[in-house]
Subunit: 194 residues, 2 copies
DNA sequence: GTCTATAGGCAGATAGAC
DNA sequence: GTCTATCTGCCTATAGAC
């Protein structure tokens, strides 16, 4: 039996910021929103994160770290390429169920109003996803669960864009079933020809 | 020989607003930005568009109208399904060359901070695109230029998400060649098996 | 670490002269 | 239609007490 412990303030701030950015965008949320949510003052937030960019950077780092951990879990628990792709889709479903957009999709859209440091962090997230997806495509072609045309890297770029875009459209419409259908369609589109 | 005429103020305002939203987002641009760009005052803007929502709505209407017109041009000039899909991709390229994201992709991301009227307009844009893409898939299957698996509507949803997502990722990285590659990959993925 | 208080700026929006 | 001038409110950020 473990005791439920309250995470420290810094962690709670980042979690709140991450959620708010995923729902309202970096330019659509403020220190006041987080302060109200956590029941502390704006000044306390500035103690932990002097500038808003510091906060945004911490949110991306946390998000990318959690996502990478989820991918490692998939790698360890799911042997076939096609199943890994479906498991990847379910990570997007998890976010949508919390009414959240992918943090990096949101920040990508706002890119021009962000600092270079945040931009680079978002780019790193996408690059890591493409690398992982390319590995999945190679694996799936070896084990016979995936086919498709073109080099693994090109397919991986297509898949990343397709998942992110399907999520964006479905999220804006509040259409989770629609995302599930599109994700299935996508996986079948790179399945081997029968 | 036609005389180059300056568009009326209202039109110039909407054009400027549209461009700014595509580059910086609705929450990332202001009346002051437009005023500076056009050399008029904020008060003049409020004469034409009392609230920012009025302005956003006008921008979406214009954007959706221009896009629909471009789709009609494709319908009239391009007979084969697969070529229509490539022409569709080139519309995205045009925006990226102007360093702009799709207006409705941007507004979709900011959805939670927008008024219901703007949300509905964005939804209408996506729905029109899906209808057009489904028609293209049906046409391509008839003329033998497209194949793919699944019902045309499901493929159309996948294609819309894939193009919008590929655009978002490429735009955030300033990687136009990358978008071209992914668009080609996408078209080949729904081409008929050889 | 968290608070109160406040600075300084920019946002969207309005009044009224011309 | 466009201007000057201004209002009100929220934003990020800081100073200094506790």
């Amino acid at each position: 039996m473990t005791v439920a412990t309250m995470p420290d303030t810094r962690t709670r701030i980042v979690a709140s910021a991450q959620r708010l950015v995923q729902m309202r965008g970096f330019n659509g949320m403020s220190y006041a929103d987080i302060a109200a949510e956590l029941g502390i003052t704006k000044a306390a937030l500035h103690y932990h994160f002097p500038t808003k960019t510091d906060l945004g950077l911490a949110a991306v780092d946390r998000y990318a770290g959690d996502f990478a951990a989820a991918l490692r879990v998939i790698d360890e628990s799911t042997p076939r390429g096609k199943d890994r792709l479906s498991a990847y889709a379910s990570l997007y479903v998890d976010a949508l169920e919390g009414e959240r957009l992918c943090l990096c999709a949101m920040l990508a859209a706002e890119q021009r109003t962000l600092t270079p440091a945040v931009r680079r962090a978002v780019e790193g997230f996408f690059a890591a996803n493409v690398r992982w997806l390319a590995d999945v495509v190679r694996l799936g072609r070896r084990d016979g669960s995936l086919g498709g045309v073109g080099p693994p890297d090109a397919v991986a770029h297509m898949l990343l864009g397709a998942f992110e875009g399907a999520m964006l459209v479905a999220w804006s419409r509040g259409d989770l079933p629609g995302f599930r259908r599109t994700a299935r369609q996508l996986v079948e589109s790179v399945a081997p020809a029968r």
